[in-house]
């Protein structure tokens, strides 16, 4: 088994080829403008077109684009040529390359990578190699990092309805780095280590975007007897070992099915592939699925798969069968799913007589299987054609698959052939000069940062927590401004978290904490008041006002309180814990005892 990793990480700066911010509109925001477009593949000199493009083109799609005025301009709408490549993004990419000990190119050439599923309004993705030939140390040896590229994010997929796919343009153009490893990752655990290490290295620079969806991990897995499969969209690192394991199992199970078929056919499997309209069998069916379909104008089409009895229902992934694969191929033609003979017909309320009529009509023998599709005639035929295509493959196909939350995968499309790329002539080549490289602040390595945090905090657990934290940048800023490291760290990592759990979330902790620690530094309140002050701020009070409510009681006033409460430490603290400096109180009480 060979495993490779491809990471796409969004950068924390404006869009790559225009002046828009890399902020996305709210999930449920209404677009400011809707435009409709079609894309057409540009044939090469030799009239070739690669498999994945062909697949898209066959669908004859049109695209609806949602434009959001706060995140999009004419560039995203493909109504204006790209601006110069964002120098801040380039700088961040060069810094990341340096952390991976890579060699940057001497001149950066932006390329157009043809994409015609509509996820780029221009019909291509702009991408460029920034650096090559890097390395990552892991606990089980060195991994090669052959490529770091900078490219633009695609538009967000909203959904497909019939022939129309809708995308949101707010995501389009956000800068990404793509980091690719060689397929030398040893196993699932190693995969997690590599992904974590690269992820942490990037986050420690403070210059990459944080939050859901800002990093995507694609895993390439190939097995000896199977094929190379690209699994996209595994968001949760913890899922990776299971994902890899399930994919290997899936490929092995498919190989076993192929072997079984060869045995049954006593040689190469031959499928005759007759697709027939069997609607008349179900004219008065009691099956709700089928009768509803027919009533709304759909037909029922059937396909016999010779000698496949029992194989379609065989489980190849946890909870997924070979039939699920066939169904996913059918779905690519726009139908909702298939019905196959290894299922329990009672599930669909298909009667025994309907079943035997069907078997007769499509000419099935006892060890054959069938696949049915209920859909408008043209779509149904197209779907079964895809199923037949898949069933006829006497090998495990190379595919792009989607990672599911349960660590299984689902077919998306055929693995693309070599990317069709040609130069982006609207953006001139960018020399990567010595001056530019010098100006790129490499900053600390991950190891150096780890050591520095440990020294600052004196606590290994908190240092590790801070290193992985989204608040690392803010932490450094607060410490630079004079805050006590441990206090800043625990406020960020513990206090804010428990406040959020209580429903008292502070939306913009940066300015709040800066002001808080400035006032604390001036001695306006005591450490133990901080959580309560923040709770008030979460409710809407300003830091200054909340701070006043907890102003320190000291001097004569404190002495009076101590006296009034009989110098009883417990009584005093239970009432004034958040208002008194324990050291001062201690002095007063001790003084009294001496009295």
């Amino acid at each position: 088994m060979k495993i490779g990793l491809e990471i796409h990480q969004r950068l924390a700066c404006g869009k790559l080829f225009c002046g828009c911010p890399s902020t996305m509109a709210e999930q449920d925001a209404k677009p400011d403008l809707i435009i409709r477009r079609r894309l057409h593949p540009v044939f090469s000199e030799l009239g070739e077109i690669d498999l994945a493009s062909k697949a898209e083109f066959e669908k004859d799609r049109s695209f609806v684009y949602q434009v959001f005025a706060g995140s999009d301009c004419l560039v995203e709408m493909d109504e204006e040529p790209p601006h110069r490549l964002n120098p801040e993004a380039l700088s961040i990419a060069l810094e990341l390359a340096q952390h991976l000990h890579m060699k940057s190119v001497d001149e950066l050439h932006v390329m157009r990578k043809i994409v015609i599923n509509g996820s780029n309004t221009s019909g291509f993705q702009r991408t460029a190699i920034v650096a090559l030939d890097g390395k990552l140390e892991t606990s089980r040896g060195e991994i090669d990092i052959p490529l770091l590229a900078i490219e633009e994010e695609s538009a967000g997929d909203v959904g497909t309805s019939g022939n129309e796919t809708t995308y949101r343009l707010d995501r389009l153009g956000i800068p990404l780095v793509e980091i690719t490893t060689t397929p030398d990752i040893l196993d699932g655990a190693h995969l997690v280590e590599v992904a974590e290490k690269i992820g942490m290295m990037m986050r420690a620079t403070g210059k990459v975007a944080r939050g859901l969806g800002t990093i995507r991990q694609d895993v390439n897995i190939s097995t000896e007897k199977g094929a190379r499969v690209e699994i996209k969209g595994a968001q949760d690192l913890k899922m990776l070992p299971m994902l890899a394991q399930n994919e290997v199992k899936r490929q092995d199970a498919l190989v076993a099915i192929l072997g079984e078929l060869r045995a049954r056919f006593k040689g190469k499997a031959v499928l005759n592939g007759g697709i027939s309209d069997v609607s008349q069998i179900f004219k008065s069916t009691k099956s709700p699925l089928i009768s509803k379909g027919i009533a709304s104008g759909s037909s029922v089409f059937g396909l016999a798969l010779e000698k496949h009895a029992g194989l379609i229902g065989r489980e190849i992934q946890p909870g997924k069968r070979y039939g699920t694969e066939l169904s996913d191929y059918a779905k690519a033609a726009g139908v909702k799913g298939i019905i196959h003979s290894d299922e329990d017909m009672a599930k669909y309320s298909i009667s025994d007589s309907e079943l035997s009529a069907l078997r007769g009509m499509i000419g099935m023998k006892p060890d054959d299987a069938f696949v049915l599709v209920v859909a408008p005639a043209e779509q149904a035929k197209a779907a079964l054609t895809k199923v037949l295509e898949r069933a006829r493959m006497d090998f495990v196909p190379e595919e792009t698959r989607r990672a599911n939350p349960d660590a299984t995968t689902t077919y998306m499309r055929p693995l693309p052939g070599r990317a069709r790329m040609y130069p982006e002539t609207d953006v001139p080549p960018i020399p990567i000069t010595a001056e530019l490289l010098k100006a790129v602040s490499k900053g600390e390595t991950l190891e150096e940062k780890k050591a520095r945090l440990l020294k600052m905090l004196g606590n290994a657990e908190m240092a590790d927590k801070m290193l992985r934290s989204r608040n690392l940048g803010l932490f450094e800023k607060l410490v630079e401004g004079g805050a006590e490291p441990m206090l800043a760290a625990s406020t960020l990592e513990n206090t804010l978290v428990s406040l959020r759990r209580e429903g008292a979330e502070i939306k913009e902790p940066g300015p709040v904490l800066e002001e808080l620690f400035a006032l604390y530094g001036k001695g306006k309140f005591v450490k133990s008041a901080i959580p309560d002050i923040l709770k008030e701020v979460a409710k809407g009070k300003s830091v200054a006002d909340a701070g006043k409510d907890y102003s320190i009681i000291s001097g004569k006033e404190l002495e009076k309180i101590a006296k009034d409460l009989g110098y009883d430490l417990r009584a005093i603290m239970s009432k004034y814990r958040t208002r008194v400096d324990s050291k001062e109180l201690d002095r007063i009480l001790k003084g009294d005892i001496r009295k």
Binding site: L39, V42, S44, E45, E80, I129, M421, Y422, P431
Partner: protein, 430 residues
């Protein structure tokens, strides 16, 4: 250095440099640092490697390029003439080179729906960016378009760069009157080598328009930012109003001729237009033109000397402010500088001066203010006209090709020849 080793662009090479060794195809050098090699890696990516301290070794020479000869095809129903605007391209992904598609077979490959729409034949007249075109090319194009129509073409489509397309459409409108067949100009704002190019829709709608009962020179481009339908604009009324948008072309002071959508067989008239008229066999292009005309943008503080120095031209079009004004110092203020004497000087020496609006939209009226009246008294032509500056310029060039007589020039300029002047300002078109 490359020549010495017999290495050319397209050859497979290995470049060894301090950073490592890279094998790929050597790319032709685009504009940029001359001391950098550009290499295309097997993955398809290009990158630049400094030639300093690098050595290059030939691995394999590129194969000779096969020139495919396509069989000659007969005349089509619709003629497509190319002026260089690449409305159709092919990309060679191996090297990244982009080639224009011009033969009928290439156009049919680029636009699969074309064959269903019409039988075409095509030829390239010349290859220029449209900003490099001038009166010579307008004349050539008018003669070639007339030739096509005389030979039996039912309609002509002209592929032209978008920058100066409307100067050419205006020129052809004056040079070819009483058209028995339409001449439809088409272009693309997004270069045609990209999948998002609006070229396909524009081209097919242009061919569809060329089949209609239309006897004018027109321009067919996107009506909106969506790929839904095109507008067909009158050649004397259209202007490019945006540097880059698909829907950059607008009709000025009038509605477009029609909304066009070949997919739904829709040719929806939006204003009146001339139908086919006259005999195809008798079509002649009146290409006499005097292009020694200056088009001058007027601005506050424009120097009288500047206007004086225009006396080497045979005609001047002033793009004036507001209703058709230039500085004439109506109030005789010490701080203002009139150019009226210089304008009058031009007119008196037989150089006609024509007014056009800087505002682009709207009708000139030089009788409302003193300024305008003084210009009219001096003989400036243009009061009451609602033409665009570009069309006024082209028209003056054409008129001066017909006559030198100042009275006749004024008469011809003020006569509507090809829809460039109208008596009514329609509502709803601004």
């Amino acid at each position: 250095m490359l020549k010495k080793k017999g290495i050319e662009a397209g050859d497979e090479v290995t470049i060894a440099c301090p950073k490592g060794s890279f094998t790929g195809l050597l790319m032709p050098r685009p504009e940029g640092a001359p001391d950098t090699f550009v290499l295309k890696l097997p993955s398809g990516y290009n990158l630049g490697i400094s030639a300093k301290g690098a050595s290059i070794v030939l691995v394999r020479k590129s194969g000779k390029k096969e020139i495919r000869h396509e069989p000659e095809e007969g005349r089509g129903d619709i003629s497509i003439l190319g002026c260089g605007g690449t409305i159709a391209s092919k990309v060679e992904y191996k090297t990244g080179a982009v080639y224009p598609a011009i033969t009928p077979a290439e156009l049919r490959a680029a636009f699969p729906s074309l064959a269903k729409l019409a039988k075409i034949h095509s030829r390239q007249l010349f290859t220029l960016f449209s900003e490099d075109m001038n009166a010579h090319h307008w004349k050539l194009l008018a003669e070639e378009a007339a030739k096509e129509i005389r030979a039996g073409s039912h309609g002509v489509v002209v592929m032209h760069g978008t920058d100066t397309m409307t100067y050419t459409t205006a020129a052809l409108s004056f040079m070819l009157q009483d058209l028995p067949a339409p001449i439809v100009f088409v272009g693309a704002q997004r270069s045609s080598d990209r999948p998002s190019s609006e070229n396909e829709m524009n081209m097919l709608n242009a061919v569809f328009s060329a089949k209609q009962d239309l006897g004018e020179v027109a321009l067919c481009m996107h009506a909106s930012s969506s790929d839904d339908y095109c507008h067909l604009h009158r050649g004397t009324r259209v202007r490019k109003m945006h540097t880059s948008r698909r829907d950059a072309f607008h009709s000025i002071n009038s509605a477009p001729i029609a909304a066009v959508d070949y997919q739904n067989n829709r040719f929806e008239p939006l204003s009146g237009y001339r139908k086919r008229s006259g005999q195809a066999s008798g079509l002649k292009a009146e290409t006499k033109l005097n292009d020694n005309v200056a088009l001058v943008y007027v601005y506050p503080g424009i120097k009288p000397k500047f206007i004086e120095k225009l006396d080497s031209y045979d005609g001047v079009v002033l793009i004036g402010t507001g209703l058709g004004h230039v500085p004439v110092n109506s109030f005789n203020d010490k701080t203002a500088h009139s150019i009226l004497p210089q304008v009058k000087g031009l007119m008196d020496s037989g150089i006609p001066v024509v007014m056009a609006p800087q505002t682009i939209h709207g009708r000139l009226n030089m009788l409302v203010y003193t300024t305008g009246r003084m210009l009219v008294d001096a003989g400036v032509i243009g009061d009451g006209m609602d033409w665009t500056p570009e069309c006024a310029f082209v028209k003056l060039c054409w008129v001066l090709g017909q006559t030198k007589d100042m009275k006749k020039v004024k008469e011809l300029m003020e006569t509507d020849i090809a829809g460039e002047i109208s008596g009514r300002s329609p509502i709803g078109v601004y």
